[in-house]
C-alpha cells in the first residue's frame, strides 16, 4: 500500500516536472534524484514521450530562410566577408580542418573497436558550401552503389543558369560528375568506378555554368561551393 502511494507520488511528480509545474526548489530536488535514480528517469522519459505527442497536431512551419545562417553564425562564428575567393584559395582552408577530421576519425575508430557503431560499408560525405553558407549542398557517396546523393539545402542556380558538380582529386584537373537536374533540390549522380576510386579524400565543387553544363570540360563560371569528402560514421 505504501509502495502504491509512493509509486503514485513519483509518477505524479515526474509528470509535474515534465509539465514544468514544480517550483524551482522542487524541480532542483527532483533533478538531483533523477541523476541517480534510473527508475525515476524512466518515469520521466515516459511522460516526456507522452506529452510530446500533444504536439502531433501542430503543423510544421518553415522559419525564415535567413534564420539558418544566423544560427550557424551564432554557433560557428561569423566568417569574414571576402570577395569571391578562387577555388585554390578555398582549398587552402582545409589544412586546419583536416586535423579536426583526423581527430574525429581517431575517436570513431576507437568506438568501432568496441562495436558501438554498426558495421555498414563506409559512406563518404561532404558539405559543399560557400564560405558564407549562402550555398550549401549535402552530399553522400555510397561506394557500393556507385551513387552520389546530393541535397541542396541553401541556394540554387542563378537565373537561366545550371549547376555542375566536379570532383577534384589531388593535383588532377576537375572531373565533371554531371549537371544538376533542373529545378530539383535533390539529385543523384551515378559515378563510374574509375572515378569512384578517387572520391576518398577528394574535393567536391559546384560551379555556375550555362544550361547543359560547361562547354569546355572544365569549370567556366564561379565556384559556388566546395567541400572536402570525408569518411562518415
Amino acid at each position: 500500500m505504501t509502495d502504491d502511494i509512493e509509486t503514485h507520488d513519483e509518477m505524479a511528480l515526474a509528470a509535474e516536472y515534465a509539465l514544468g509545474l514544480l517550483s524551482p526548489e522542487e524541480a532542483a530536488a527532483f533533478e538531483s534524484v533523477l541523476a541517480v535514480d534510473p527508475a525515476l528517469r524512466d518515469l520521466y522519459a515516459d511522460w516526456a514521450e507522452d506529452f510530446a505527442d500533444l504536439t502531433d497536431d501542430i503543423a510544421p512551419v518553415d522559419p525564415h530562410p535567413a534564420l539558418e545562417a544566423r544560427i550557424h553564425a551564432a554557433i560557428f562564428g561569423q566568417p569574414a566577408p571576402k570577395p569571391k575567393p578562387s577555388l585554390i584559395a578555398r582549398l587552402g582552408f582545409f589544412g586546419p580542418a583536416l586535423a579536426g577530421v583526423a581527430a574525429a576519425l581517431a575517436v570513431l575508430f576507437g568506438l568501432n573497436q568496441f562495436g558501438v557503431l554498426n558495421d555498414d560499408s563506409p559512406t563518404f560525405v561532404a558539405e559543399i558550401a560557400a564560405e558564407d553558407d549562402s550555398f550549401v549542398v549535402l552530399a553522400s557517396f555510397d561506394p557500393d552503389a556507385g551513387t552520389l546523393d546530393m541535397n541542396r539545402t541553401v541556394g540554387g542556380p542563378r537565373e537561366g543558369r545550371a549547376l555542375e558538380v566536379w570532383l577534384i582529386a589531388g593535383e588532377n584537373p576537375p572531373v565533371s560528375l554531371g549537371v544538376w537536374p533542373k529545378g530539383q533540390a535533390e539529385a543523384t549522380l551515378a559515378i563510374a568506378s574509375d572515378i569512384a576510386r578517387l572520391m576518398d579524400g577528394g574535393v567536391l565543387a559546384v560551379s555556375d555554368e550555362p544550361p547543359g553544363g560547361s562547354p569546355a570540360g572544365a569549370p567556366t563560371g564561379d565556384v559556388l561551393g566546395v567541400g572536402k569528402i570525408m569518411l562518415s560514421l
Binding site: L21, D42, D50, D57
Partner: protein
C-alpha cells in the same frame, strides 16, 4: 517514420562536431520545431529567436542526448517546448499576465521532410486525455503548451492553489493508468 533513425544519427554526429549533420538535422526538423515554438509563443519573431536558442542548445548538448533515454524527436520537441515556455514566462513576467495575442496563421510551403514529420501518428495521449473531465485535460494541455503554472491554473478555474494541485495530480495518475493500458 523512417526518419527517426536518420535524426538519431544526425544528433550522434552533431555530438562529434559534424556540421553537415547539423545542417541536415536543421533541414529535417526545423519546420516541426518552429511550429512548436510558434504555437507556444504566438509571435513569429519571438519564435525565431527561440528556435535559434533551441538549435544552439541542440548543438551544445548533443553529447548528452543518449543519457536521457528520450527518442530523438521527443528530445528535440522537449527542448523546443521548454525554451519557448521559458521565453513566454519571461514575457509574461515583463508584461503582466493575461495578455493574449491573436494567433498568427502558419505560412510557408512545406518540404517533404516536414510533411513526413507532420504525418506521424497521433499518440495515445490524445485518446486518454479524452477520458478526463474536459477541465482537467484542458489544464494539462495549458500547462504543457502554454506553460501555465499552478498559480495561473488556480486563478483560471477559480479554486485554491492546493486544490488545483491535488486534482491535477489525481488526474495525471488517472492519465498514466490509461496510457499504461
Amino acid at each position: 517514420m523512417t526518419e527517426i533513425l536518420e535524426i538519431d544519427d544526425y544528433i550522434a554526429k552533431c555530438a562529434l562536431g559534424n556540421r553537415a549533420a547539423f545542417t541536415a538535422l536543421y533541414s529535417a526538423t526545423s519546420a516541426k520545431l518552429f511550429g512548436v515554438c510558434l504555437r507556444v509563443l504566438n509571435n513569429r519573431e519571438e519564435a525565431e529567436d527561440a528556435l535559434q536558442d533551441v538549435f544552439i542548445k541542440i548543438w551544445n548538448n548533443a553529447d548528452r542526448y543518449r543519457v536521457n533515454g528520450l527518442s530523438p524527436m521527443t528530445w528535440l520537441i522537449t527542448i523546443a517546448r521548454n525554451q519557448s515556455i521559458d521565453r513566454l514566462r519571461a514575457r509574461k513576467a515583463k508584461q503582466g499576465a493575461g495578455l493574449e495575442e491573436a494567433a498568427e496563421l502558419p505560412s510557408g510551403a512545406l518540404g517533404p521532410e516536414a510533411l513526413a514529420l507532420a504525418a506521424s501518428e497521433r499518440g495515445q495521449i490524445v485518446t486518454c486525455m479524452a477520458e478526463l473531465d474536459p477541465d482537467k485535460s484542458d489544464a494539462v494541455r495549458r500547462a504543457y503548451l502554454e506553460g501555465e503554472t499552478y498559480n495561473e491554473l488556480a486563478a483560471r478555474y477559480d479554486v485554491p492553489l492546493n486544490t488545483v494541485r491535488t486534482w491535477l495530480r489525481r488526474n495525471l495518475i488517472k492519465l498514466k493508468e490509461c496510457l499504461s493500458r
